[in-house]
Symmetry: C2
Subunit: 446 residues, 2 copies
């Protein structure tokens, strides 16, 4: 085995050594196989996948990123594709369908048994990013009037198709949600206790149109196995399970991280995207940023005389605007994450800004004090005064801008993460330069 | 209720209207109460908390951030503190203990019943950030030799204290892990089927010393409810549940996000930290960055003659180094996230760098082409040539540095996220300036 471990799956495929590929696959867990498949070039994924046993193939397929799932289907024969598609849960199937050309999706949906097709179609009818898209409509619910023994019997009878039987929503005769209980409490309860008495009536739920991210965050905060999803009449229509919530949160975090670095998310594993796709995810932001950066050229052009008179002023430009950018990036990153975690809302704008401005004054004051002496010794008292005053002003300005913009973006319905470090940096660059030269003019009498 | 909703918990506390506080609390869910408590100043949290019913108080307490838990304990009377502490799961108790002064922790531990104290002490004996710290030692395991009916009986008898009974590790007579099954399969199985036949033998597990983040990622990737944790002899010692995994991942992501913005993580809710604590989380990075930025002063000092001769060169400094910084930040952010998601490892260094350099050339080339004409018209052919050549060079350099450093940091055992946007930007600033002036000298013949 150690010898095999040395060789990667890609090497084995390259050597066309199918026996070795087969035993490589046999020795790996589902997660490991899925991870390696995602690292392979797309045209090489079908061969090892087809070597997997049928049950395992479905498990591996479910673990793959939806974008990779779709690419893999392209490389498989129709019979295999239909089988895989039918084996998926309705919510996974709905997600995969979004990735496909409409024609392929229609053909695959048409090949499903009627009830599966119906469930998938219902999910696809809900808005993008709504809880309805990721919920499982196959719920094991309990009428409140059953005894524990009857309820357990019911779970045994109907539970096989449900996505989870661990979290059991309790409903009245109109299928309205009235409570919830865990299978655990049902198993541990006396046989004749009533579900209505056992259930927890303080039950979390979310409307089917609720935002996926909010639903996922509630599941995480409340440590839920599954969250009941209801329609406008509070009737149970599905559940969102913790594993789907984890995926949503991972995707949202990936999106936030990408945007905070000034790029759009790739939405698929890094090694599986082409150079062109990577470039495309970044080019728009880069153009926006360079357009904003032309402001700095104009500002400097405006102050060209001052610059020509005291060339030494140019020496501090990168240091000063860099420090402003860094302070702004720090504030923006902290506030954006606090928004993502639900710790801060738009209503907190004033306290957040006040706090960040004080942080900026504190940090700027400290940097100014540190910079004064060395700049004075190496250059002059005047330059040292200009640099120190600019540091305080720029740091305060940067924390102000950096904390305010993410909150404003959220208020306007945009992703707060688009107020990214590069964006804040670029904004602070131009305004910081204006501050710098105004201070220089005043102090140096230019 | 609508009237109450208008007033925040803080207002009600400020008005000392305890009846209103009480009904406010009664109308909110556990998660909502916990969120509001976290937003209150620390000295105001004890009053509403003590108004909560005993069971609810424990639920709310468990939902709070560990740092807030500790602060809250400071404000409660000893009897309440002991009760709360005893009510926690051993893993939550271990986590909370880390936040406390050693003396307080010892006193609280001494007040526990012996078996609870023992379990907590065992967890605290495992290394920081290891799976042992977050696992629950109270596991409902099944011997492989039982029938389904016997196993269900056993779960009923022993399951009350276990953290979860949904994921059931199967062990041999030496308590070695041999398989696992879900309570679901046990409930749905025929009464006389053997656990040894029902169980899944392809079972995920992790050693007790494994890194928390890796364990959490495995739980997410494999969609597990709980992961069995074993000692060096493969004996079952605990389980890590999905909710603890979600918390670990959230904390890791928060840490990554903070570092990617050039700050250390706050490790507690944003509004609950003081201005000084915020400043402290940022000052070290800011000093490192400004120290690195003094390089740019030296570089410009070196080229001061060229600068004095063609002052126009100064105009493009912010734009050029800003664009370099942005491209580098994009590359660093993408690669850091790919590392965090396990998509990219150090072994991928060469392909990642090659890919990023090509992205850099592509983006730089595009920007250069766009910039040439306007710069030529507004300034001169020579300046346009210098700016365009510098854009290509700086973008390529930036993607190289931005993609390489996170992988190198990981290789050296550091957090790849410390190779943050601000850090990469600052590094690229100085080297970009050198490139700029070398190109300018060559083209302009300075």
């Amino acid at each position: 085995m150690s010898e095999l471990e040395e060789r990667s799956l890609q090497d084995l495929i390259g050597a066309a050594d199918l026996t070795a590929v087969d035993s490589w696959l046999g020795e790996r867990s589902v997660v490991e196989v899925a991870e390696e498949l995602e690292r392979l070039p797309r045209e090489e994924r079908a061969v090892p996948f087809r070597l997997l046993a049928k049950d395992r193939a479905l498990d591996v397929f479910e673990t793959l990123d939806p974008a990779v799932q779709q690419e893999l289907l392209d490389g498989l024969r129709d019979a295999n594709v239909g089988q895989l598609f039918e084996g998926l849960d309705p919510d996974d199937r709905a997600r995969l369908t979004e990735e496909m050309p409409a024609k392929v999706a229609q053909r695959l949906l048409a090949g499903l048994p009627p009830n599966e097709r119906q469930m998938t179609a219902t999910l696809l009818g809900y808005p993008d990013d709504s809880a309805g898209r990721i919920m499982s409509p196959e719920v094991a619910n309990l009428p409140a009037s059953l005894t524990a023994a009857q309820a357990l019997d019911r779970v045994r009878r109907t539970g096989r198709t449900a996505e989870t039987i661990y979290a059991l929503p309790v409903t009245d005769d109109q299928r309205r949600l009235v409570g919830a209980m865990g299978l655990r409490d049902l198993v541990l309860a006396p046989a004749d206790a009533l579900v209505g008495d056992l259930m927890d009536t303080e039950v979390y739920s979310a409307p089917v149109t609720a935002d996926q991210e909010e639903v996922a965050r509630l599941i995480r905060e409340a440590n839920l196995l599954a969250l009941p999803i209801v329609d406008a009449e509070n009737r149970l229509v599905g559940v969102v399970t913790f594993d789907d919530a984890m995926e949503v949160l991972e995707e949202e975090d990936t999106e936030d991280v990408a945007r905070s670095g000034g790029a759009e998310p790739l939405r698929r594993p890094y090694l599986s995207v082409s150079v062109l796709q990577v470039a495309r995810s970044r080019v728009v932001w880069l153009l926006v940023l360079i357009a904003a950066a032309t402001l700095t050229v104009s500002v400097l052009d405006l102050f060209e005389e001052a610059l020509a008179e005291v060339v030494q002023l140019a020496l501090f430009i990168p240091l000063l605007i860099g420090t402003g950018g860094n302070t702004g990036a720090q504030a923006a990153t902290t506030v954006t994450r606090a928004i993502a975690l639900g710790e801060v809302r738009f209503a907190d704008l004033t306290p957040v800004i006040l706090r960040e401005v004080r942080v900026g004054l504190l940090l700027g004051g400290m940097l100014a004090a540190l910079a004064y002496l060395p700049v004075m010794l190496l250059f002059s008292v005047e330059i040292a005064t200009v640099v120190s005053l600019t540091l305080v002003s720029i740091c305060t300005l940067a924390t102000l801008v950096g904390s305010m913009l993410p909150l404003l973006a959220q208020r306007l319905g945009a992703d707060p993460a688009v107020m990214s470090a590069p964006f804040i940096t670029t904004l602070v660059d131009a305004s910081g330069l204006v501050v710098y030269f105004l201070i220089a003019r005043a102090v140096l009498g230019l």
